[in-house]
Symmetry: C2
Subunit: 180 residues, 2 copies
């Protein structure tokens, strides 16, 4: 289901409205939306996504790691206690992460712990583009990366998550060109 | 009044505790604390402040502007409706911003509006180091800057605010050296 707000409406938003609507398209990181607001008018949702991606790419390594640290563990304690953001809840549900067998949950928790111990930030993957089997496989594979590679891989996933969250909000067919 | 937590306690904090305690030392910008967590152990509170200052300095211009945008207007609508963070409430009170005459409030609101219209981010000043008269004067003076100068001036004030907030939390006499 695509978003219903046109890009022209987005371009007319005062800052307070913009941040309240887009403040969590990068999980818990309202600085991302705050940073790009000045760059309006955006031509379309892709343009808005590019601005946010550029902001993420320009982060120093510590900032990229910080962006990942603001994400919850997949199928972790926060999910079990109902403490996830509504965006994360929807995404983890679509990947089947609320329907793990006891065996799968044990494996997920132990790999998540190994990953966080190694890298100092949680494993981030675009859950809406992956099912639980692919996520478990991704965890095992990415555990072999070094820390800097893995920060970049994680941020690439953050951009995919951001894109899908933006598409939930903004009508992808709207453009400042078609609207004159 | 100084903070009571020793730097050794800070260095032992798991990420979740660190972010819950230091997540607002830069107003509404938990990314700052998330980014520096990995740099423990910190020698003392100055070392922790330096790590956060470096993170702010490394932000692209859009990021610096975003950091400022996450701050509320001084003596603005949010303050009048009780919507400020507790840190901001305390700081704006100490500057006398809850005791403005009608004339002062009118002037503050009109200068804040002029400032935000010109720069696209709110006027940020370390309210605990300035009284209302100095703040009004600062607003008038800084309105003459260009946008990039003013983003840098604003971020320098963010670092001062951050330092005082850190000193509210961490015992400044504690050091990893004296504690062995």
């Amino acid at each position: 289901m695509s978003g219903q707000i046109s890009i022209s409406e987005v371009n007319r938003m005062p800052y307070e409205e913009f941040i309240s609507i887009f403040g969590n398209v990068v999980e818990q990181c309202s600085l991302c939306a705050a940073a790009v607001w000045r760059q309006r008018p955006f031509n379309d949702v892709n343009h808005l996504h590019e601005a946010m991606s550029t902001f993420l790419d320009q982060q120093p390594l510590a900032g990229k790691e910080g962006v990942l640290r603001l994400h919850p563990d997949l199928a972790g304690k926060l999910a079990q206690s109902g403490g996830l953001t509504s965006d994360s809840t929807k995404e983890q549900t679509s990947a089947g992460l609320f329907n793990l067998t006891e065996n799968e949950r044990g494996k997920m928790n132990s790999l998540n712990q190994e990953y966080t111990d190694k890298f100092g930030f949680p494993f981030v993957i675009c859950a809406r583009e992956n099912k639980k089997e692919a996520i478990l496989k991704g965890l095992e594979t990415r555990l072999k990366n070094n820390s800097e590679e893995e920060a970049l891989t994680g941020v690439a996933e953050v951009k995919k998550i951001c894109r899908l969250r933006l598409l939930d909000i903004v009508d992808p067919s709207s453009s400042t060109k078609s609207a004159l």
